[in-house]
Symmetry: C2
DNA sequence: TGATATTCATTCGTATACAAACAATATGTG
DNA sequence: CACATATTGTTTGTATACGAATGAATATCA
């Protein structure tokens, strides 16, 4: 089945295929757009110029601190290069502090600062409101269904 | 209701709120991850080093050509600055050609080149396979449901 | 006509996102 | 111990993504 798809992919599309295919009806297009709308809502409501990824890193770090930079990246679904940039900006703001790991010379141990804790506390209810507004077009049942379906394709 | 949320957001979160909130269970986290997985599938399968946005621009341009750069951006949900970068790269590859609009001196009229048409034809069945693989964890009913729910929150 | 507003494209700055290559450090196996 | 392997963090390069500012061309309307 997957193999049949693969060999099909290697062949040339017919003119009728070209007419039929619509990008804006593909799942990828919807995923990108839905994410865009969420990020827009987040940016509009959240204070302190926090981005979605910075917020994810901050709140996840609060859960698992102290931890290494790469581990935080794994837990927030960020590439090593991406998490480094995010952490650097959070450090520059004074929300996160770094220290070398005495046990492992490779590791950079991350912790929240008081400022970081305060930033979370200050914005937590807004973050909840952002989730609420993003899901506002849906009923309670639809919200659970959407999250369940997204979980399956992650 | 929205007003109540707003004023709540202005207040400070309690320690219990901090314990309860989990980023990785918010809709934004799922949307970002689902999109990530889709992009990864796309990159792995699609040839010609085409990106998801380049593919969206190419195929949408095929539908509506000739059109202006900003119009193509609107139809593919891209910012003016974003669509410019995408178009520039497609032009550099020879997939898209640009010409000034005789009727409107502001406009840059875009068209697909033969190379662009060929690139679409060459990758169309793969694009279909990418959609299929992204949705592969879902049943047919779940797929329709997911797309419907995403459409509602876009 | 002429002032105002709108649209289009460009540019700058900041922030993800990831592949690839690299050095330093750990770990496990012989 | 020695060596192969894996992990951690860094850097570079490319590609979105978008706010904001700018300037040119066009549209609108009093």
């Amino acid at each position: 089945m997957a193999e049949a798809k693969k060999s099909d992919s290697a062949s040339h599309a017919s003119a009728s295929d070209m007419e039929t295919y619509k990008v804006d009806q593909q799942i990828g297009f919807f995923l990108r757009q839905a994410n865009q709308r969420h990020v827009a809502i987040f940016s509009a409501q959240m204070g302190d110029r926090l981005t979605t990824t910075q917020w994810a890193a901050l709140t996840k770090l609060r859960e698992i601190q102290p931890t290494s930079q790469n581990q935080l990246g794994r837990d927030t679904a960020m590439d090593v290069a991406t998490i480094k940039g995010v952490v650097d900006r959070l450090v520059k703001r004074g929300y996160v502090s770094t220290a070398p790991d005495p046990q492992d010379g490779r590791r950079l141990v991350l912790s929240l600062t008081g400022e970081g804790e305060a930033a979370i506390a200050r914005n937590l209810l807004t973050a909840v409101a952002v989730t609420e507004e993003t899901l506002s077009p849906l009923t309670s049942g639809e919200r659970m269904m959407l999250i369940e379906l997204l979980r399956k394709i992650c």
